[in-house]
């Protein structure tokens, strides 16, 4: 069974090739069969492989499949090979299953779009790249997937390319993630230079042997990789691209900018956990960046009016939780949160997409309303997603994963009270903005006409994801509730288990209660402010100072403005100074020299036979001169 592993990324690639080469000649029906079917088969296959992996585990819970050596020069021989362990099992399951549901949903969502086959071609290419990224057994192949998902993200954000704003958003996402990617590439060069391999397993072994904890080289390498992770996962200070990336079609936001691609940074850090453990300072930086991001993004989410932008900031904030977890060594908890987040955030985006579709592309949630009565399926699934995001205790999966992170942050030797407190405050913000969204968009009278057109194709993925958003949480229960550790036991074969310095279950219960209170407090506040007394926000926060704060939050803490004034405008000024482009004159010189040489040499091509013969004779004389006289 496991030797079919290569088929999992190959199927979506095949789908991409068919759609890209022959897409326009196929009928809609065939296009959607190919587009959805390729990912569907990949999902079935990866489920089967995961089951076989769990039931008949390969030795050391690892399975390697080397397809071929790409190139072999000296000690540089990157393979095209896949590595399956508990971590990649989780990743491929999420990518293919959630990916399949989103593809299915897109058939209806994109039904009237003229770029239908182009859309599915890009989406299939994305899934394939994401699978290559997660399965790669060496960093070079991982980088191929990494760049592949970046490219697809660019193509899909700018999918409706006739709007200049969409192109700007796509370019912004591409350029900002490029900053991170460059840092990551340099990190790879450094690792290869120091350790002489890019095979992840081998590299981890050598790193642990060769470097002592806290020395400079692993620190630099980890920091460079972290740069890549920050760009891809939209964490401080490279988070500004994600809210704008909502310009793409909503299924794209669900798949790429919520469930899978933005968590690639989390995956990278978890995959390279040995390196990050060797660099404790960088690991602490991961935690602090995670915390700062989750708080800043939480505040920003509170001030948005566009429903998709709320979800975008919420994604940044939730990925911040994962970073916080990674930073304190709660590896399994972070991956657990990735899994649950993928389910409920994809659900939220798809449900929001269903509302947007029904309202004729109205995204301002203050102009929506009445979803509860008009679109009941969408409403209930959206509510489940929002509850899970707000992590309502015991019944939602978001609770179990977030609680696991918070508890481990509390009890980790590198964590502690302050990080925990920030996390809990973030949870309060989360439930506040989640239910602000629910109350304004779903309740009250419909301010925009809602056309009921959501068909079953839209409902099925919503319902399945809603079920997943509840049940996935039960694979891992805290010590005092059930004490059931299926997920972390499974992951411990691939990731180091969590090292706590104190385990006391009394505290754990207290912490859970505090987290639960913060969640309900958030719901209560939003209930009062956005349902019971909609005039309150205006009354309390109508003042000048609060207006300023509101607009600061709404603009995402003004990062765009800061980057614009610190980087973009000075750069434009410098380029203006260099209007005549004296640097370019060097290149102009190059082109002048080559074109003049071209013209000079072309004079010899006269077309006259006797001159050609003369050329040969001169050549012969020169050859003989060199040979005989030198």
């Amino acid at each position: 069974m496991l030797d079919l592993l290569w088929l999992i990324p190959a199927l979506p690639i095949l789908g991409f090739l068919i759609l890209a080469l022959a897409g326009s000649r196929l009928s809609r029906k065939v296009q959607s069969c190919v587009g959805v079917g390729s990912v569907g088969f990949a999902a079935v296959l990866s489920s089967a492989i995961s089951i076989s992996f769990i039931v008949f585990p390969p030795p050391h819970y690892q399975y390697d499949q080397t397809l071929w050596n790409w190139i072999s020069i000296g000690n540089f021989s990157p393979t095209i090979g896949f590595h399956l362990d508990a971590l990649s099992v989780c990743m491929i399951l999420v990518v293919t299953v959630v990916g399949f549901l989103i593809h299915l949903y897109s058939v209806e969502y994109m039904a009237d779009d003229e770029g239908f086959s182009r859309f599915f071609a890009y989406m299939n290419l994305f899934v394939a790249s994401m699978l290559v990224l997660t399965l790669a057994d060496n960093l070079l192949l991982l980088y191929l997937g990494w760049e592949g998902v970046g490219l697809c993200s660019f193509l899909l954000i700018g999918f409706w390319y006739k709007e200049p704003d969409n192109i700007k958003a796509a370019t912004k996402a591409f350029v900002i993630t490029r900053i991170g990617d460059t840092s990551m590439a340099i990190g790879l060069f450094l690792l290869f230079n120091e350790l002489g391999t890019l095979q992840i397993q081998e590299l981890s072994v050598r790193a642990a042997q060769q470097w002592v904890v806290g020395s400079t080289t692993p620190m630099i390498a980890a920091a460079l990789l972290l740069g890549g992770a920050l760009g891809k996962s939209a964490q401080l200070p490279l988070q500004t691209w994600l809210p704008d990336a909502m310009a793409g079609p909503t299924p794209v936001s669900a798949l790429i900018h919520a469930a899978t691609m933005v968590t690639a940074g989390v995956y990278l850090i978890a995959r390279m956990n040995v390196l990050f453990t060797l660099a404790p300072m960088v690991q602490s930086a991961v935690a602090i960046i995670g915390l700062a991001t989750l708080l800043l993004a939480g505040f920003s989410a509170l001030a948005q009016n566009d429903i998709k932008r709320v979800l975008a900031y919420s994604t940044i904030s939730q990925v911040g939780y994962m970073f916080l977890g990674l930073g304190v060594g709660a590896w399994s908890a972070a991956i657990f949160h990735f899994v649950t987040h993928a389910c409920f955030k994809a659900l939220l985006f798809l449900a929001a997409g269903s509302i947007i579709l029904a309202s004729g592309h109205e995204q301002n949630m203050f102009k929506l309303g009445g979803v509860r009565s008009k679109l009941p399926v969408t409403f209930w699934t959206f509510l489940i997603g929002a509850s899970s995001l707000a992590s309502i205790p015991l019944v939602t999966d978001g609770f179990y994963s977030k609680d696991m992170i918070l508890w481990q942050v509390w009890s980790s030797p590198t964590g502690g009270f302050w990080l925990w407190l920030g996390g809990v405050f973030g949870a309060l913000l989360t439930s506040l903005y989640a239910f602000r969204m629910v109350f304004t968009a779903c309740f009250g009278p419909a301010k925009t006409q809602l056309k009921h057109r959501s068909s079953n194709i839209i409902h099925i993925p919503l319902i399945i994801l809603a079920i997943l958003s509840i049940v996935v949480g039960f694979v891992e229960l805290p010590h005092n509730i059930g004490n059931f550790h299926l997920f972390s036991d499974f992951l411990n074969s691939a990731l180091p288990s969590f090292q706590a310095d104190k385990i006391d279950t009394n505290n754990e219960l207290a912490l859970e209660i505090i987290a639960g209170i913060s969640c309900f407090l958030g719901i209560l506040i939003s209930y009062v402010f956005y349902f019971k007394r909609p005039e309150y926000p205006e009354r309390f926060f109508g003042g000048c100072v609060s207006q300023k704060i509101h607009s600061l939050w709404q603009s995402g803490w003004g990062f765009d403005w800061i980057y614009d004034s610190v980087f973009v405008r000075p750069f434009v000024r410098i380029t203006r100074l260099n209007r005549n482009d004296f640097i370019d004159s060097f290149y102009a010189l190059v082109s002048f020299v080559t074109t003049s040489l071209h013209k000079g040499l072309s004079l010899t091509q006269t077309g006259r036979l006797r001159q050609y013969a003369l050329g040969i004779s001169i050549g012969a004389v020169l050859v003989l001169l060199i040979l005989v006289w030198l």
Binding site: W70, Q605, A613, G619, A620
Partner: protein, 479 residues
């Protein structure tokens, strides 16, 4: 010579047999499809028979011919390339008003000559093979008698090839006068004994003759004119089979004689290599005629190849062989697209006739783009891996100057490849009218050839180790 010696010569004999058979059939019954099919079958058969012959290797058949892994590899390559040229020619010849059948006889003879060249271990057999190749090429280049450019190209090639052959023969004569041998092994022995005499100028004149065939600077000036005038499939044949066979022989001879012991010989090749890289790329730079661009490009590519030739060690042989295979695939693909695009009114020669090709004929445009990217050495194509190995071989032998020259001239080269691609992607001109290609049979053959070449191109680009293993296995017997 014993009867049992004939068996290792099976591929060569097979081709000769098909030549005679074709001649007989043409005398009694003219049929284009029949002749073409027979030619194709003969080439395929010869290609397959090389596998059978491999069990005899290495085997010296008389003093003249050696059948070892090296010659079998290049023979197979030559036959495969000949087969591709046959596929590409069918449709092209359908457009001619003249008789088509003799073309295939000449093509088979050219392939036969090339296979003799790669298998020869003696100057006599080499010269024999070379003349079989050249004489058939004179006629093939001027095959379209109604085209004055074709006649001109044929005459130019005839006169200049005769001139260069004179140099070549004189060089061989000097070597013979000095050592008393025409056999490569014996010559290597006498040259190795530290004796310095007429062998040096003899080798110099030999280089002139070979340099002409490989169109290396400064013996290159005929190349664009002949490539332009010849029927396009034949241009592909000239650029691949004819050059590749001569290069394989040159590599065999100079590896035996060991040029590395002679500094001035290394200097000559270095000068020629650098001049070819820069000369070829600079001449192509603003050229508007696509066939001429490819002609210049092939000059530059053999300059790169000389770097691997000058490098020593087993990596050098691997690099050259890999590069030649990649180059064969690419250049045949590129000329194949041009041949497939030619209509009744002639070939699309100027760059402007490729405007918007990607939108009007996406398949052909895509294939041509892939081939050009491979020529430029962009990753995921065969050309990249080939260039990578050539540079690795150069670096391994500390030929820093040559490697630097490859890098610089490749950048120049990138310009004109991308220029063609950008023209193909630009907007379809306003006054464009869909004329459509003339409706003749044989499109499927050309399409098949181009598809296979493109698949090969990508396959070699992402899975090069498969071919590398084959090369290692074949070359282990001789290098």
């Amino acid at each position: 010579m014993k009867i049992s010696d004939l068996l290792p010569l099976l591929p060569i004999l097979l081709i000769s047999g098909v030549v005679v058979l074709n001649l007989l059939i043409i005398a009694f019954y003219r049929n284009h499809l029949l002749t073409a099919a027979l030619t194709g079958a003969g080439l395929i058969g010869a290609c397959v028979s090389t596998v059978a012959v491999y069990s005899f290797a290495p085997r010296q058949v008389t003093h003249l011919i050696i059948i070892d892994g090296y010659s079998i590899f290049y023979m197979a390559l030559v036959f495969a390339a000949g087969f591709v040229v046959t596929l590409l020619s069918y449709r092209y010849l359908e457009l001619l008003e003249d008789d088509q059948e003799e073309y295939y006889v000449l093509l088979l003879l050219g392939t036969l000559g090339s296979s003799v060249i790669v298998a020869s271990s003696h100057f006599a057999s080499f010269f024999l093979g070379l003349e079989i190749l050249s004489v058939s090429l004179y006629a093939l280049i001027a095959y379209n008698r109604n085209d004055p450019l074709g006649i001109e190209a044929g005459v130019k090639y005839l006169v200049l090839a005769a001139t260069s052959d004179a140099f070549l023969l004189f060089g061989i004569a000097l070597i013979y006068a000095d050592t008393g041998f025409l056999d490569f092994t014996q010559i290597a022995k006498s040259a190795g004994s530290g004796h310095v005499g007429l062998i040096i100028p003899g080798t110099g004149l030999l280089i002139v003759g070979l340099g002409f065939k490989l169109s290396l600077v400064p013996f290159h000036m005929w190349t664009p004119d002949v490539y332009e005038g010849a029927p396009t499939p034949i241009t592909g044949f000239l650029a691949s089979v004819s050059k590749g066979a001569v290069f394989a022989l040159m590599l065999r001879y100079f590896t035996k004689v060991d040029i590395h012991t002679n500094n001035s010989l290394v200097l000559v090749f270095t000068v020629i290599a650098v001049a070819s890289m820069f000369g070829g790329n600079l001449l192509a730079l603003l050229q508007n005629h696509v066939k001429r661009v490819l002609a210049y490009s092939s000059i530059a590519h053999f300059g790169y190849l000389l770097t691997a030739f000058l490098a020593s060690g087993s990596l050098a042989v691997t690099a050259t062989s890999y590069y030649l295979v990649a180059y064969f695939v690419t250049i045949l693909g590129a000329f194949g697209v041009i041949a497939a695009l030619s209509g009744c009114r002639g070939e699309p020669d100027l760059l402007s006739s490729y405007r918007g090709l990607f939108w009007t004929r996406p398949m052909l445009g895509g294939v041509l783009a892939a081939m050009l990217l491979s020529l430029a050495g962009i990753p995921l194509t065969a050309g990249f891996v080939g260039k990578f190995y050539v540079m690795a071989a150069g670096i391994g032998s500390h030929l820093w100057f040559l490697v630097a020259c490859i890098t610089m001239s490749s950048v120049i080269g990138l310009f004109y490849y991308l220029r063609i691609i950008s023209v193909m992607f630009s907007k379809i001109p306003e006054d464009f009218e869909e004329t459509g290609l003339p409706d003749v049979s044989g499109i499927a053959a050309a399409g098949l050839a181009l598809t296979v070449l493109t698949l090969f191109l990508v396959w070699l680009g992402i899975y090069p180790s498969s071919l590398i293993e084959v090369i290692h296995k074949m070359m282990s017997s001789c290098a």
